[in-house]
Subunit: 304 residues, 2 copies
């Protein structure tokens, strides 16, 4: 069980090389410098060297010990940055000040990208006050309306991330408004199917129990009150699987904007961990995301 | 603007008569006694008088000043309790220890019930730490997959509840994962349609602006950061309209189980406010729900 991002950062092992695409952005440089300082990552900055140095000066960041690969054109910088990971020179890939569409094009590049042939997805890891372990939310940002097959892949990706973070046998809750199957709500039917696939050994290395309402998934007291004793998950879920991107994203932002949670996110379904932070993410979120990527890079190969 | 349930309770006016169906339940009696004590309600307990007195004795509740209508059969008790409201003897109707299905049957009874001919829906009112006004969430419990027409009705019901609570011109946010229309996401298309219906005067007495993500709806700082200045809602929404019951219920329970929020709920689309609390609701939630019903009973007629 990993309780916090501090514990998570302790599990990153030796610092991992981090390739950053179009790095001339103050928030990205700040996070990179911090990750270097905390021995989480060794950032390599792909982008316009003049601009990178100017931005660093502007925010008083010392980047004298960071490697810069000077490429003026943004698309070319992303191409070289992802190729650097593809060729094994770096273990993690991060978005700088390039729009998401072009960044993802580099991730999915057939020759130098990080595609596995499977769908890309997203995991958001949360440390929530009052909950004694990390929560792994999927998918709050990437797959709009996941099919049953997508959800199976999302669970497999996220279980691997949770295991890399030290959760030996993650408990996976496919969420819904209710905790019983209702044929009129396909979400609940699919949640039951995912549970069955797990029982039959088709989804491995985890315990799936759905459909589950949020209280039964995350609140042991509520689960006790509701007499959920016969279930495999009683308020102690590690992985929360959302019905669709709207439910996932609304809960994700509710946690971010109404609680004192910390979080970090990475893409999944890629050959190496990819960090796709958004402009509105805090400094702490960016550093947490790099740490999460580093833990996954450190431990994922051991698990497979 | 109403900031808290304490402020809300101050707006209930003279205590309203509250008819309770099948009242022999400790949690219901506790809430009824408290609502009487705080001058919110004058409860009338329909149910088995022997059992009601036994339960009251068990929990040391003084119900000597509460009216009891002794009816042993549960369905008959609900029938008489709802008829009491239908005939105007009481202004609010509340579920006791009768299952939801039979309780709703009494609400929808064609002869003595509280139906208006329109769909029933649900509003959950939240006081969330860090947010300086009450939030009105719809629909987190009742309509599984609302159509555009349902959403229009949900907004109208909830705007009336918000106005009864003192919000003169409620700001209504039809929520989604994103804040721009995406033709592949019908939720965003419908959110834009609701906005248009409001601009054309089809949805009145409120300001609708959607689609909106949760941060732009409830966090003024985030809205500022994202340059949402051109929008009608900049982190100051009063009413949150959810895409479907899964998104709504998952956010509702996230607020209940990870924040120190207070909440109260009533059904909407009925002739008089109906309180349908669940067993897992706290004492405070039950009392808040009665207060919310009382405020609506006090002010709704003035508005129409």
């Amino acid at each position: 069980m990993t309780k916090s991002f501090d514990e998570l950062i302790a599990k990153t092992g030796a610092p991992k090389k981090l390739s950053i695409a179009v790095a001339q952005d103050s928030a990205v440089i700040e996070a990179a410098v911090e990750a270097k300082k905390r021995n989480i990552a060794i950032p390599v900055l792909f982008g316009d060297a003049d601009k990178i140095n100017a931005v660093a000066k502007e925010i008083n960041a010392d980047i004298s010990d960071l490697e810069i690969v000077d490429i003026k054109d943004d698309l070319e910088a992303a191409h070289e940055a992802v190729k650097y990971v593809h060729e094994g020179h770096a273990e993690m890939y991060m978005k700088g000040i390039i729009d998401t569409k072009n960044f993802l094009k580099s991730v999915l590049d057939k020759e130098v990208g990080l595609r596995t042939g499977k769908a890309l997805s997203h995991v958001a890891v949360f440390q929530v006050p009052g909950i004694d372990h990390l929560l792994f939310l999927t998918d709050v940002a990437f797959i709009p309306y996941p099919t049953l097959e997508d959800k199976k892949a999302m669970i497999e990706y996220t279980v691997n991330v949770a295991r890399a973070c030290g959760v030996e046998m993650p408990k996976v809750a496919p969420l819904a408004a209710v905790e019983v199957v209702n044929p009129k709500m396909s979400v609940t039917v699919e949640a039951a199917e995912l549970t069955k696939l797990n029982e039959e050994g088709e989804i491995k290395n985890c315990i799936v129990d759905g459909p589950l309402s949020m209280d039964l998934a995350i609140d042991p007291e509520a689960a006790k009150h509701k007499n959920a004793g016969g279930r495999k998950i009683v308020g102690d879920a590690d992985v929360l699987v959302f019905p669709d991107i709207h439910a996932g994203n609304l809960v994700y932002k509710t946690l971010v904007h109404t609680t004192n949670s910390e979080n970090g996110c990475i893409l999944t379904g890629t050959k190496a961990p990819v960090i796709l932070t958004s402009r509105s993410d805090t400094f702490e979120t960016k550093v947490n995301s790099i740490a999460l990527a580093a833990v996954v890079a450190e431990n994922l190969k051991k698990l497979q």
